[in-house]
């Protein structure tokens, strides 16, 4: 595949859930409780795209694929995009700007507290995603973007804590995240043992 095509293709693919969602809305396929359905769909895609973003590095390590690296920022920003839609659905469609209720939810309901925290932590990552910011922050950029792991764990907990009895899907997501993190840990150990006695940072 031509390298120049990768970005536009991934861009269009990432928009498909939104396009299908709007299509479903126009054709009455969002079911009896469309607001709940929109909330679930946008949340699902935010979490899925976050896991896909986190799969870029393991894909390079395990399969030697370097092309996903070219779209990692795009994937991360689409994660943020669907997270924004998810939060907006909650603020506007679900609560209709009832800030009092929203505030109480965020304070009192652990799954909302942690979900909202995940979103708040995503904001600085999205803001500092430009080339200029990368240059300006230098080494600290990498440190800041370690936050994505916290966001992922919070996102999974948000999902786990809102489920009533059927934990299958949240646990599948958790297992995928765990696998993606383990690949990182494995390679980090490998490189530490081969590169020794190189000085260790951090």
């Amino acid at each position: 595949m031509k390298a120049v095509l990768i970005k536009p293709l991934v861009f269009i693919t990432c928009l498909l859930p939104l396009v299908f969602g709007i299509w479903a809305g126009f054709t009455d396929q969002l079911g009896a409780n469309p607001i709940e359905e929109i909330t679930h769909r946008t949340g699902d895609w935010a979490l899925r795209l976050l896991l896909i973003t986190l799969a870029v590095t393991p894909a390079r390590r395990l399969f030697g694929w370097s092309w996903p690296l070219r779209v990692r920022r795009l994937l991360g920003l689409f994660t943020f995009f669907y997270a924004c839609l998810h939060l907006l659905t909650y603020f506007v469609l679900d609560q209709f700007f009832d800030w009092d209720e929203i505030f109480k939810d965020i304070i009192k309901r652990p799954y909302i507290t942690i979900g909202f925290s995940a979103f708040v932590l995503l904001v600085p990552l999205a803001i500092t995603s430009t080339n200029a910011m990368m240059r300006r922050l230098g080494k600290r950029w990498g440190q800041l973007h370690q936050l994505v792991y916290v966001v992922a764990v919070f996102g999974i907990l948000h999902y786990l804590w809102l489920v009533k009895a059927d934990y299958l899907l949240p646990l599948i997501h958790a297992a995928i995240l765990l696998a993606l993190l383990l690949v990182r840990v494995w390679y980090q150990r490998q490189s530490l043992s081969t590169r020794r006695p190189a000085p260790q940072t951090s």
Binding site: L30, A32, N33, P34, L93, D105, D166
Partner: protein, 320 residues
């Protein structure tokens, strides 16, 4: 045969049904158009109510206006495609997709425990068509959504009087069919199967407590708990157990499925109560299916006048 199978439907009935739903669709299009304007372009799906669901056989019934709300009823489509019936899967669209494997004819109900007349009863022996009445009840789910549903059934008290419970009978326990072949959702241990629910004797004898065999004037679709289910309108929906095969009268409080699954979250009583939150979400408001803005949840789901006396002196914060 008393409870007719869908195959018994007459051509004339089908035509009537279509006209009936065109009328409803027309009314809905009006109310939903207004709603969709409020919601903006994000929810245009509301403007296309689409075709109605199941073509079930008609049931004779008398309207019971005394116990019915005059609020706008939800569409048959919404009532039959948005169900919590984990025996067919945990997604709310699963029951409509998978409940066709349930065989509701013949259907027996075992009555046992503290009763003078324990027996295996055939459904048609228990429910006489001449006794059927329609009651339009609010249904409030523990997940903070609600509907208005025109049920067809008979008061549970009518049945209980026939079973003649002994003086030891303090509670009634209900059990759903346990058959993973007919109910594929039972292949996964999401809840402890079979599903069990229970009522205190005075709750079971209350005139509002209904055993439903139909809705919208037709035989109950499988996904709504065919062929016979409980309806307790002042309690959260999960109390209204579906596809009942056993009724047991007991001296002690039954262990109910959701209570066993999450004792801190789902109590035995499960009365609709806006001031007692589910530990993970507020119960003060609810979304009526088909509406955009949430409405305030009423104490005992609006049946306070009829049922509050059952719980006088009880701490409802503790007995949730």
């Amino acid at each position: 045969m008393l409870i007719k199978r869908p195959g018994d439907i007459k051509t004339s009935d089908i035509t009537d049904e279509k006209i009936y739903h065109q009328r409803r669709a027309f009314l809905q299009a009006g109310s939903r158009a207004a709603l969709a304007m409020a919601a903006g372009a994000v929810l245009p799906g509301l403007m296309f109510p689409g075709e109605a669901a199941a073509q079930m056989a008609a049931l004779p019934f008398k309207k019971n206006t005394r116990f019915s709300t005059d609020e706008e009823v939800n569409s048959l489509k919404d009532i039959t495609r948005y169900n919590n019936f984990y025996e067919f899967g945990t997604d709310k669209t699963d029951p409509a997709k998978y409940a066709h494997t349930l065989k509701t004819d013949p259907w027996n109900i075992r009555v046992e425990g503290e009763v003078e007349n324990p027996a295996d009863y055939q459904l048609e022996d228990l429910i006489k068509e001449s006794q059927l009445e329609e009651r339009v009840y609010r249904l409030r789910c523990v997940e903070a959504w609600s509907m208005v549903i025109p049920w067809v059934g008979i008061p549970l008290s009518t049945l209980i009087k026939r079973f003649k419970p002994t003086s030891k009978a303090k509670y009634v326990e209900f059990t759903t069919l346990h058959d993973p072949v007919q109910m594929p959702g039972q292949k996964r241990g999401v809840l402890g199967w079979p599903y069990v629910e229970g009522l205190r004797m005075d709750e079971a004898m209350h005139p509002l407590t209904l055993m439903a065999v139909g809705l919208y004037g037709k035989v109950l679709p499988n996904q709504n708990g065919a062929p016979i289910r409980l309806v307790v309108p002042w309690k959260y929906g999960f109390k209204s157990i579906k596809s009942i095969v056993k009724i047991r009268f007991t001296e002690t409080m039954p262990n109910t499925s959701w209570n066993l699954s999450g004792p801190q979250e789902y109590g035995f009583y499960a009365n609709v109560n806006p001031s007692v939150d589910h530990p993970r979400w507020s119960q003060s408001r609810e979304r009526r299916i088909g509406e955009f803005f949430k409405r305030k949840t009423a104490m005992f789901n609006g049946y306070q006048e009829q049922v509050a006396s059952l719980y006088s002196g009880m701490d409802l914060q503790r007995n949730y």
